[in-house]
């Protein structure tokens, strides 16, 4: 003797309900562990950067720079650097080339605007050269070849000379784009 069609139907409904609830509950359990950490993992991408006021940092005395404008490399020691939980004081945070032009100084970031390799100053050809992908830059930091891998000239930053001391606002910029955008 078989069940009546109505009973059959309610049995089918019950089974459907069980299957749906089972899938729902199992999916919730399966996704929960990963979901519980998603906000933390994505945290760095949600933090605003590049808008902070860049402090002035003392680099050297004007007298140490050659008057003919030959670039000289200097370490930039920042007074305060925060790396996640650690606060460092007076720590080298990068390097610049300083070139003097009378009482004015131009500062070029050591990092290539292409992909961030360290740029060399070539004494023989009196220009800048990136040894990674062969980008070349003139003494004024501009791109010198048509098919340069670097999309823009070397990154300059604000400088000032006060009482014979050279100050800069040390900054890093987003690599491999044509515009100069602070990181």
């Amino acid at each position: 003797m078989s069940d009546s069609p109505k009973k059959e139907e309610s049995k089918e409904d019950r089974r459907k309900f069980i299957v749906t609830s089972t899938i729902a509950a199992s999916t919730a359990c399966a996704l929960f562990p990963l979901a519980s950490g998603i906000p933390s993992v994505l945290d760095p991408a949600t933090k605003e950067t590049g808008n902070a006021e860049v402090p002035w940092t003392k680099v050297t005395n004007l007298a140490t720079l050659p008057e003919d404008g030959t670039p000289t490399k200097f370490e930039v020691v920042l007074e305060k650097v925060k790396d996640a939980w650690t606060t460092y004081t007076n720590i080298p945070a990068g390097a610049v080339y300083l070139a003097r032009n009378g009482e004015k100084v131009t500062a070029y970031n050591l990092k290539c605007p292409h992909l961030g390799c360290a740029i060399d100053y070539r004494k023989n050809s009196n220009d800048y050269f990136c040894p990674c992908h062969n980008s070349t830059f003139g003494l004024d930091g501009s791109v010198t070849t048509d098919n340069s891998p670097s999309p823009r000239g070397m990154d300059t930053m604000d400088t000032k000379v006060e009482d014979g001391v050279v100050w800069i606002r040390f900054q890093q910029f987003v690599p491999n784009i044509a515009e100069k955008v602070p990181v």
């Binding site: 089972t22 562990p33 519980s36 950490g37 933390s40 945290d43 925060k82 996640a84 939980w85 650690t86």
Partner: protein
């Protein structure tokens, strides 16, 4: 199209058959709630692997970065507290579920032949899980984890022959440090979970091989794992999940104590599920706790399936496990109630909570130096001041009735309570005879029977007594306490005139100025009160109370901390800054 893709995959992997085999396992007697524990444990372990891997992205195992990276995750990363909380409370849930699973297996007799091997695997997995808990407890490198794990690893040295070497291997040397953390982390995130995965696979394989052990009588017709039993399993997992989320939100994530500091004592206590062992070690030698009892339990678990085969053996096994659980629960209860009855323990916990709040506040505002967060606390007058007070002053003095940190003191009080020292309220009370000779002020010193008490304070008329709070205002003004306002010039002049007894409001022999100088070059017979309680005055006083400016030869037992080199200058300064920093709890 999806079907085509599925066919393609199935053709090459046979996945449909696998899924079918997994889902359509027979459940004799129908789906039952008593079968959910294994699935729950698998779910919890899965959660721990996933959340643990995510936590890994934030954790830096070294003595100067472990606490710091956990602090950063907890307070400065979006949702960090939640991720950490889930991992922390899931670990607790895992222990509870393990006990439930084990008891269900024991009661149902599912450990008996042919399932002995799987029972032993289960017991082994329990050991690995406990090792995971133990290693994870240390990783935040806070006071609690540091001191408790020190006890656990010291126990390890009790193992015969290899113990001391084993301890060194686990700790990564003879002292706790970088290598303790790197090793514990490698164990916690690598070795132990990998072993557990292997054991889970073997456990589930053997479980499937022998099928569910059916508890008779069978309530219903046989059914399949899918969907009835899966639904029950999923609901149970969901319940565990909700409980863990509720705990995480209620406690705002896992606790983080002050950073580990070997020079800052903390009462070592393990996680709650190890408290029975902790309590046991109060009664038995360490060798018993570390070796004999665990070895006996291990052997007993090994024998359980064989005992179960004999007549009445199963009932014996069930009874044995109930007794074991009841005994552990009783020991745990004793451990908790002993701690609750112990005032010093409560004070130590409060002190640690205070330090944790304090160091987080400083780290939030100043950042953490490369030497680590523990240096923030060591340089903090609020923290160091109370610790110096407890170590050097509290055997005679008190601070709000305690030792400065909130601990009760065993020795009787024999000098003044210095909370709110030199404040208006403090001096007002001091000038009242009953207070002066009470334990809170000079009751424990020879000054109780001195001139000031007997010939001055005790003799004041009601009229004179009304003037004393004014005198207190004047003296407190000289202290320049950071939490009290300065008097204006006119009021100060007026009060000075009262002090000098210009209008003869005090009777002869009872005006302060007759013994105590203030703002003058003269030398009185009692301590000079110029700038009484000020930073300079208090530093000079603690350096040498026997100086003629203070007690001179009348000094009663107060050590000359500076003169005799008992405290360094900077320590005295920290102590003074702390005493003067806040009002008393009057």
């Amino acid at each position: 199209m999806i079907k085509g893709l599925m066919d393609w995959i199935d053709d090459r992997s046979g996945i449909r058959g696998l899924v079918k085999e997994a889902l359509y396992e027979k459940v004799p007697g129908g789906a039952r709630w008593r079968y959910v524990w294994g699935s729950c444990l698998t779910f919890v372990f899965f959660t721990q692997v996933v959340t643990g891997t995510l936590l890994w992205m934030f954790y830096a195992p070294s003595a100067q970065t472990a606490w710091e990276s956990v602090y950063f995750l907890q307070y400065h990363v979006a949702g960090g507290w939640f991720l950490r909380g889930v991992h922390h409370y899931m670990a607790q849930a895992m222990i509870v579920l393990l006990v439930l699973h084990l008891m269900q297996v024991v009661i149902d007799g599912a450990y008996k032949a042919p399932r002995e091997l799987n029972f032993w695997f289960g017991v082994l997995m329990m050991g690995v899980t406990l090792a995971l808990s133990l290693t994870g407890y240390l990783l935040p490198w806070d006071q609690k984890g540091y001191w408790a794990t020190a006890v656990a690893t010291n126990l390890m040295a009790e193992v015969p022959l290899i113990g001391p070497a084993l301890q060194k291997i686990v700790v990564g040397g003879s002292e706790y440090g970088h290598h303790t953390l790197t090793r514990f982390f490698a164990l916690h995130a690598g070795v132990l979970p990998a072993s557990l995965v292997a054991l889970v696979v073997a456990h589930i394989y053997l479980f499937r091989k022998h099928g569910i052990h059916v508890k008779e009588p069978r309530p219903k017709r046989d059914s399949y794992f899918w969907p009835d039993q899966v639904l029950k399993d999923a609901i149970a997992c969901l319940a565990v999940l909700l409980a863990v989320v509720a705990l995480t939100i209620y406690f705002r994530g896992a606790p983080l104590g002050p950073p580990a500091d070997p020079s800052n004592e903390f009462p070592a206590r393990p996680e709650w599920y190890f408290l029975f062992l902790f309590q046991l070690l109060k009664y038995v030698p360490a060798f018993w706790g570390a070796v004999i009892i665990p070895a006996f339990l291990g052997l007993w678990m090994f024998l359980t399936p064989f005992i179960g085969k004999s007549k009445g053996g199963h009932q014996f096994n069930v009874g044995f496990w109930w007794v074991l659980i009841a005994g552990s629960a009783a020991l745990t209860g004793m451990a908790i109630s002993e701690d609750q009855a112990n005032l010093k323990h409560g004070a130590a916990i409060e002190e640690a909570n205070w330090q944790a709040e304090r160091v987080i506040k400083i780290a939030d505002s100043e950042g953490i130096p490369p030497a680590g967060a523990v240096t923030l606390l060591r340089k903090d007058p609020q923290n160091q001041g109370r610790r110096l007070f407890a170590a050097h002053c509290a055997s005679c003095h008190r601070y709000n009735g305690h030792d400065g940190r909130g601990f009760p003191v065993d020795e009787p009080q024999s000098a003044a309570d210095l909370a709110g020292f030199a404040s208006v309220e403090w001096i007002t009370e001091l000038l009242d005879y009953d207070h002066y000779v009470s334990e809170k002020y000079f009751g424990g010193t020879k000054f109780k029977d001195g001139t000031m008490a007997r010939k001055v304070l005790a003799k004041y008329t009601e009229e004179e007594k009304k003037l004393l709070p004014e005198i207190a205002k004047l003296l407190a003004d000289g202290a320049e306490l950071p939490y009290e306002e300065k008097l204006d010039e006119d009021t100060r002049e007026e009060l000075l005139s009262l002090y000098y007894n210009d209008d003869l409001k005090f009777e002869d022999g009872r005006a302060c100025i007759e013994c105590h100088d203030i703002d003058s070059e003269d030398e009185g017979s009692a301590p000079d009160l110029t700038g009484y309680g000020s930073r300079e005055w208090l530093i000079a006083f603690i350096e040498n109370p026997e100086d003629k400016r203070f007690y001179g030869k009348k000094n009663d037992r107060m050590p000359c901390y500076g003169r005799d080199g008992k405290l360094k200058d900077e320590e005295i300064a920290i102590l003074v800054d702390w005493i003067r920093s806040q009002p008393a709890d009057f």
